[in-house]
Symmetry: C2
């Protein structure tokens, strides 16, 4: 999905919600464990209940990989039913030397080789340019590079500063953007510090940002929009636990929809407030 189509989807659905599919067998409703593929059955129900309210889905690859071949099969089946109206994100945090990143790109972007056809993949930037650019060689695909994450450990290295006070995450934004464009690069920016978006937007005014950390991790949607929204919206705000684990009963899909609807309505209000719709 290209940038223009993503913006159109946001305006049409009045939402910039990304639903995280961190599907954990210990957290899904027990009645689903009797299914042949409980992870896929859960994902299918969640997707059907939320697809008109969100513009992106983000399976967290660890939650599939941990079940080995079965998990990989559940991921493949899930990727096949992701709606065409939604941007798909393989949340994989990959990144390695050039010839290896090329193989990871095949894994997530080339369905003839791997069975998977995601629009984008999340990338860890530590290894530099040749670890990122192989993902940009696929027309229409995106690399979403970690800049400032929402977890506790994010401050261990991302705030490491040079003599001029420039922090590592700023250096990442500045260097990475020279390797592609805002048509094939996004950044991960955690929602836990709204005012940090001011600094992010100094370095990356036009890029879309994938924003985890709203909800369970404590970030405020209004703050993120105040400091991070640009003229195209420029945000994909992810929610996982608050939506997919809203209930462990047979009403899990209904309850997931209700939570997604709350967020979509808040997002619609923000899009209106900022004159985007």
């Amino acid at each position: 999905m290209n940038k223009q189509t993503l913006i159109e989807q946001i305006k049409s659905k009045k939402s910039f919600l990304c639903v995280g599919l961190d599907t954990d067998l210990t957290k899904i409703p027990e009645h689903l464990l009797a299914e042949e593929d409980p992870i896929f059955a859960f994902n299918k129900a969640i997707i059907e209940a939320t697809e008109d309210l969100c513009v992106a889905y983000k399976p967290n690859i660890a939650f599939y990989e941990c079940y080995g071949i079965k998990g990989w099969e559940a991921l493949r089946k899930t990727s096949e039913i992701l709606p065409k109206s939604c941007f798909s994100i393989a949340d994989a945090k990959r990144g390695d030397i050039g010839n290896t990143s090329k193989m990871y790109a095949q894994a997530f972007f080339n369905p003839e080789v791997s069975g998977l056809d995601f629009d984008s993949i999340t990338i860890a930037p530590y290894m530099g340019e040749d670890s990122v650019t192989p993902f940009l060689d696929f027309p229409g695909k995106w690399a979403i590079v970690l800049a400032l994450t929402s977890n506790q450990g994010s401050l261990d290295f991302q705030n490491f500063s040079n003599a001029q006070g420039k922090q590592l995450f700023e250096e990442v934004l500045d260097k990475v953007k020279t390797w592609g464009s805002d048509e094939n690069l996004m950044y991960v920016v955690g929602a836990t510090r709204g005012e940090a978006f001011l600094k992010i937007r100094e370095h990356a005014p036009d890029h879309f940002l994938l924003v985890p950390g709203v909800g369970a991790q404590g970030g405020s949607l209004a703050d993120v929009c105040q400091y991070g929204m640009n003229k195209d919206c420029g945000l994909l705000v992810n929610s996982t636990r608050g939506i997919i684990y809203a209930s462990k009963g047979t009403d899990f899909a209904e309850r997931a929809r209700a939570e997604a609807l709350k967020l979509q309505q808040e997002m619609q209000a923000q899009l209106e407030l900022h004159g985007i719709i």
Copy 2:
């Protein structure tokens, strides 16, 4: 495998060679493509030809993941035949927020869940402490954290320096070592700059280092040993292409053995030179 056993294996085999299993269908001998599982057939032949000459095997996970379910199955079967006398490394460059790293740890360390039972996994440190520590919660398992890599892009961020001239890779060495010990943490340090090991050893005198970049990437084994070897050896030097792709003919395993033997002999000389054997 614990540190003491690894040191004993190094002394007994007179080798600190790690063989990389970056098994690429476009590079293996053509006659193997007729096999039911060409990747596994290739790995099995390489392992049988080299296991007495090396102390570690390192499958590069991208080369399996790119083939989806089939690749994952080849990885599982390969992991089952890795000899007990060798340290096994899942070269996966994983790392995510705490609950997700926990799932990645299950993927590579818990055979009951995933089918895989590696001794160690390579980790990208960008997300900080909670992205690394879940891998340290498994007794007898290791996290091998990227410090200074051997690729061209390594200088993009790893050399980012603070006001005191400390570089990011030094900050990584210093912080990460407080999260575990030299009994469950190693670092990746590229061989392309031998003298860089001097600085690495200031920060991590006792840790084992996993060293890619000897051979195809241009690093010198003598330099690595001069600057990087410690009293326990403290090095696992990886070679991939020079060994596994020594021939594309039916003699590929023999030729792989010959190349591994050359390296083992050079390593034996270094171990003797440094008084370790």
